[in-house]
Amino acid sequence: MWKLVRYQLRGRRLLYTIGLIIMGALTLYQATRFIGMQENPAQSAPVSMGVPLTMALFWILFYTVMTVINIVTYTQDLYGDTGYLVFGLPLRGAAILGSRIVLLVIDTLMTLLGGMTSVIVLACLAPGLAQQIRPWVGKFLLTGDYWVMCLGVLVTIVSFMAIMFFGVTFGKTLTNSKKHLGSVFSALVVIAVLWSSARLGLMLETRFNGINLSLSPWQNLPILGAGTQPVQFPLVSPLMFVTLGVLAFAVTSWLMDCKLNL
């Protein structure tokens, strides 16, 4: 599996390089918006707050593009000619799918770390905001609850993508080489699974009301005001979603091993 990850990373080196250069350039451009601004919080507040937030939105866009690329390349492997290379390897379906999941985790971590660095740097440069942020950056980065929240987000995204991969693979096994029909089936499968999991999640949350995870991810950023207040994260429905993700992974691996028709 790791060899496959290495090759897929090698195939994406140009994409990563271009993507990170664009994000770096955007960060620099956003930083130039601070030039000539006064240290007066009343005057600079809208720009100072707006710039890091805009940058965070750019990173979310970057991640969305990477996620779409992940799904498209997987679909191309299933329906296109390069599938003969990947699925012809003496590897189990779990290893092939696992390599896709590892790539997704790498993309997520890259976005998370890149986005955090970019936003923190901009916040530390923002006139009026910098004085309040700088003393807290170190503490914030050591906030355990923040990282627990990030881990939860990562696991949920991986589960979501496992369900997407399942949808694409299942659509392929149902329709063989008919790409458009397969895409429609895949979309229907994904929508059906997500809709059912949302309904089931709601039902479970009602049934097990009160089982929450209390986290204070922003406790070391008092500038946010509400930072000291713990946030209640529902626990039952995400756990169910992760279980569905694991199930999707297992079924997709089996489909790859036993039912795939390239």
Binding site: Y7, R10, Y84, P90, C258
Partner: protein
């Protein structure tokens, strides 16, 4: 003589079509089998089943005593009829890829074949012509010391010189401890290499046997028998 490939009563159905119907055949070790038939006769489906890329609907398939799967993928060297290599790879990187995943990949042989095909390791797949990509793919497939070579239209898009280079590679790299299944429309060019031939039509075996026996019995070349079997279907 041990049988490297044993197929009995193999059927492959898709939703609306039957690609293969009750196909039975055997390929002995050390033999080159020509798999012949017009487009849509089921050749590619049969080859994909042997390569472990398509699952059979019913029947039994054994390659070196194993059902197609992870185990057989390690011993079957498959050349699909389309470019399966990633465009971002260089020829050398494609060789590294094969070397990493297939234990039977012989890097020295790969370098020799690249020299014969007049290719260099640094050339990008995406920048090569169709014929050069074909030569790179053939070099990769023949650099494996596989038990079974499954070649689907290996001469597609090749000029006569390149075709003769590929044929030379085919002959030079064939061993007695392996077998080869070769599908092609260019029957005249390769029929001299066939030990056995199987004619498929509509997913069924319509004629099969020892190539020399067929030639003697029918007093005709394999290409002529092809014309006879498929009527006026044109061969190149």
């Amino acid at each position: 003589m041990s049988m490297l490939v044993q197929i009995s009563n193999l059927t492959k159905r898709y939703i609306t079509t039957t690609a293969l119907s009750d196909v039975s055949l055997e390929v002995p070790e050390g033999h080159i089998m020509g798999l012949l038939g017009p487009n849509g006769s089921g050749k590619t489906t049969l080859m994909k089943i042997l390569a472990g890329l398509v699952s059979p609907t019913s029947g039994s398939v054994l390659v070196d005593g194993m059902a197609p799967g992870v185990g057989t993928k390690a011993t079957v060297s498959f050349l699909p009829d389309v470019n399966h290599l990633d465009r971002w790879m260089s020829v050398g990187e494609a060789g590294d890829f094969y070397a990493d995943f297939y234990l039977d990949f012989d890097r020295k042989r790969f370098e020799e074949l690249l020299a014969i095909m007049r290719l260099t390791a640094g050339q990008k797949i995406g920048s090569l012509s169709k014929g050069m990509v074909e030569k790179a793919r053939v070099s990769l497939v023949f650099s494996r010391r596989a038990r079974l070579y499954v070649l689907d239209e290996p001469f597609g898009g090749l000029d006569p010189l390149a075709r003769s280079q590929v044929l030379d590679a085919l002959v030079a790299n064939f061993r007695t401890d392996c077998s080869m299944i070769l599908s092609t429309q260019m029957v005249a060019d390769v029929e001299r290499f066939f030990d056995d031939v199987v004619f498929l039509d509509g997913g069924r075996v319509v004629l099969a046997g020892d190539a020399e026996d067929l030639r003697t019995r029918r007093g005709a070349s394999i290409e002529d028998i092809y014309r006879e079997v498929y009527g006026h279907v044109e061969t190149r």
